[in-house]
Symmetry: C2
Subunit: 144 residues, 2 copies
DNA sequence: GTTAAATCGGACAAAAATATCCGATTTAAT
DNA sequence: ATTAAATCGGATATTTTTGTCCGATTTAAC
């Protein structure tokens, strides 16, 4: 559903938010270990999260990454997904047709449309904070 | 959602079913043109469809591909997807965790589970014949 | 100021997915 | 039997995605 890059990004921002909630600054190493993703690749993804102002970084000794908790309450999963995977979740035809729409639908369009609408709705109404809180509560996990 | 290979496969089997409904045998060329997919790649995919007994091929001059219409009434989209993409649609964790399940969920698992269940239900209850009939009725399209 | 821990950014590498090529084989039509 | 249209199957090529490397830069701590 999401690209691997997007998966890493989602896990990373949830992890950093969790750390911030716990009063800890998260280093690249800690993050990569915490979400079981390759360190170098994770570094690249964190840079993108910083560039998009989803998280911020502190350079120098004892530096790392943090989030703005109030921002995370408002930031939807949808916004993060859009940055990494564009609008493919919401718009791309499941059979790959360029011009597929309700006016010119592919054979599966009408059956899939309500599922997609529901998915988009959930993505828009789920905040990163929601996901981080579930993690802190021990109800969910980012690792095997 | 589906791999490109799976997309081509779905379009191909719908197209062949439409042709069979119209009393025409479909050649590779006709199919590739009709679903706007690369000819050589489509040939490969048709072979897989044949091997899985979703369609059958007639060799020699004036040969091509056909489907068993009664079979297409019963064949669900889900079965086709499973052959090409495995059970990833129904089971793979959206964040890529190996052991994600309702017992050990990733942060998004519980929110996504009902959407996935609905999707699987629709895939299982949509037959290839359903999709081919929509195409014949001119309500849907396989090309831009 | 020096040091060391950390991010930053661009080039590069590996792996997976997508797609092509081409000769071999089959077989319907004549 | 011959021909020609078509599938079959394995090797290969291209493209995209995923992931790595490494030197440059920043900056907090001492």
């Amino acid at each position: 559903m999401f690209s691997k890059t997007c998966e890493h990004a989602i896990k990373a921002i949830i992890f950093v938010t969790k750390q911030t909630l716990e009063g800890k600054r998260a280093s690249l190493k800690t993050i990569a270990f915490g979400i079981e993703s390759p360190e170098a690749y994770t570094a690249k993804i964190l840079q993108l999260l910083v560039k998009n102002e989803f998280i911020f970084s502190i350079k120098g000794a004892a530096g790392g990454f943090e989030t703005d908790l109030n921002k995370m309450k408002k930031l939807s999963l949808m916004r993060v997904v859009e940055v990494f995977d564009g609008d493919s979740i919401a718009n791309r035809c499941v059979l790959g047709l360029k011009t597929c729409s309700s006016r010119n639908p592919c054979p599966f369009h009408d059956k899939y449309a309500p599922v997609r609408a529901r998915l988009v709705c959930i993505l828009e109404n789920t905040s990163i904070m929601d996901l981080a809180l579930g993690l802190i509560a021990g109800k969910t996990s980012l690792k095997e």
